[in-house]
Amino acid sequence: MDSLSIYAARASGLHKLNPVTKFSLTLFLLVLGLALPGMWTSYLILVLIIVPLAIWGKVLDRLTRIVLTISWPFILSVFIIQTLFWGKGTTLFEFGPFAPKLEGAIFAFTSSGRILLIMADFILFSLATRPDTLMISLKQAGLYPGMAYIIVTTLQLVPQFAAKANAILNAQRARGLETQGNILVRARALLPLVMPLVIGSLMEVEERAIAIEARAFNSKHKETSLIEIPDSQVQRIVRIGMIVAALLAIVIRILWR
């Protein structure tokens, strides 16, 4: 499990929460960050909600490192493109042919806040939740078992897939496929990489279907689990409250304009 997920085992209250509660919280913060207007909203949610949660879960250092590693290319391009190519606006300063615009910088700042929030939100969830407990608790919360199976299998399958894609890449390179160079060279490399990956994995469908049916996947009986997942009345109420608040935020956002 270790190599397949970024789950960080810690003894913390955040880790002990029911996974469904954390999942609702993740979606709630996502909706809040996207629905509320204003350039500071995302940053406020980051500082006032996500950072304290991460400290509570003892994962703040890892969260910061991962978010910074994957977000800087986006933030860099958003600032370059929005400030330099904004069109009409207040010029900040002139530098040769470039004239960065204030409005563009504000827009880039807002977009960066949004993307930072979405990333931190989802990564905090993955850091504090064991993928297998999510599936069990989703089923216990009454989610259609097929849907729970899809969600959890996907989370486990994607890293394996990336590894397989990498193996195919290396194999095709060893046969002389060029994967670097101009856009035409790169585009031509795509099909010999994509086809083996897709067809190889489709061949697994049969085996997997037989495997889960042999384990009584379609059984109508309620199954029991080896892992005990704690839940409480308070968490149940908070979950419902967050879902209602998220829906309200969407409605307000639509009516606002």
Binding site: L4, I81, W86, T153, T154, F161, A165, R186, I212, F217
Partner: protein, 259 residues
């Protein structure tokens, strides 16, 4: 209708969907890192739509984009999350096209040539019209088609010839599939533009940023540039995705498709 939905979600479908989502994410992320100006993140969605049906396709698309935000980095791509509704529509459309037999019928090759040529001609017209907008009057004035064709005759002829060649060699007998992909791409471009402009200003950190930047540099407004980028990338992207699925379906054993 409820029976139809139920029939689509057999055990095999449930097993197929995570694999399709993984295909979406793995290839989508590969293209994202190659910095190509397309996405190719809906091959799995189109595949499920074609093999199973619209509802399974919609579930695949929607969940793929939502889960893309939760998978472990470096594959994690939170940017895809707000576009889940576009992916749902793509899955639905692929499914309905699949039901109509678009992925099975072979088209004559001349039809593929015509489709390719017309598509590239339209693409050239679109880009040139956008690049030649006259903003000196204070509001955008689009150049007339007659002036454009007269001015850039060589470009148009070249575009049509390249399009025809692509139609002949890439689309081959899959003209109908290519056309379905084009239609899906146009819809995707239109419905994704508001989110793209509003949330991200059209900038995703991927290869499509260059197109947005080019349109912006040419004086296009934020909205127009994002829509223009979508209209250039999406039809091409979805046509390619549909064609990849067309080829995949041709390489799969009949035993697999029968179920």
């Amino acid at each position: 209708m409820l029976d139809n939905i139920k029939k689509e979600f057999s055990t095999r479908t449930l097993v197929l969907i995570p694999i399709a989502i993984a295909i979406n994410i793995a290839i989508g992320q590969l293209v994202y890192t190659l910095k190509l100006p397309i996405y190719l993140d809906s091959i799995g969605t189109v595949l499920v739509g074609a093999l199973v049906g619209p509802w399974a396709g919609a579930v695949t698309g929607g969940l793929a984009n939502l889960l893309w935000g939760v998978v472990p980095p470096p594959l994690q791509n939170a940017y895809a999350v707000p576009f889940f509704y576009v992916a749902i529509v793509i899955g639905l459309m692929a499914g309905f096209f699949g039901k109509r037999g678009v992925f099975e019928k072979e088209s004559p090759r001349w039809l593929s040539v015509v489709i390719g040529a017309v598509f590239f001609f339209a693409l050239a017209l679109f880009i040139l019209a956008f690049v030649n907008i006259d903003t000196s009057a204070g509001f955008p004035v689009y150049p007339s088609m007659k002036d454009l064709v007269a001015q850039y005759l060589v470009v148009f002829v070249l575009a049509a010839v390249i399009g025809a060649a692509i139609g002949y060699y890439l689309l081959q007998n899959g003209g109908y599939t290519g056309l379905a992909g084009l239609a899906t791409g146009l819809v995707a471009a239109v419905i994704s533009a508001p989110t793209s402009a509003k949330l991200f200003g059209g900038v995703t950190g991927g290869g499509t940023d260059l197109i947005v930047a080019a349109f912006r540099a040419d004086g296009g407004s934020l909205w127009a540039s994002v829509l223009a980028q979508g209209s250039v990338s999406d039809p091409f992207d979805k046509m390619l995705s549909f064609m990849v699925v067309w080829f995949i379906l041709r390489s799969l054993p009949a035993r697999f498709k029968a179920r």
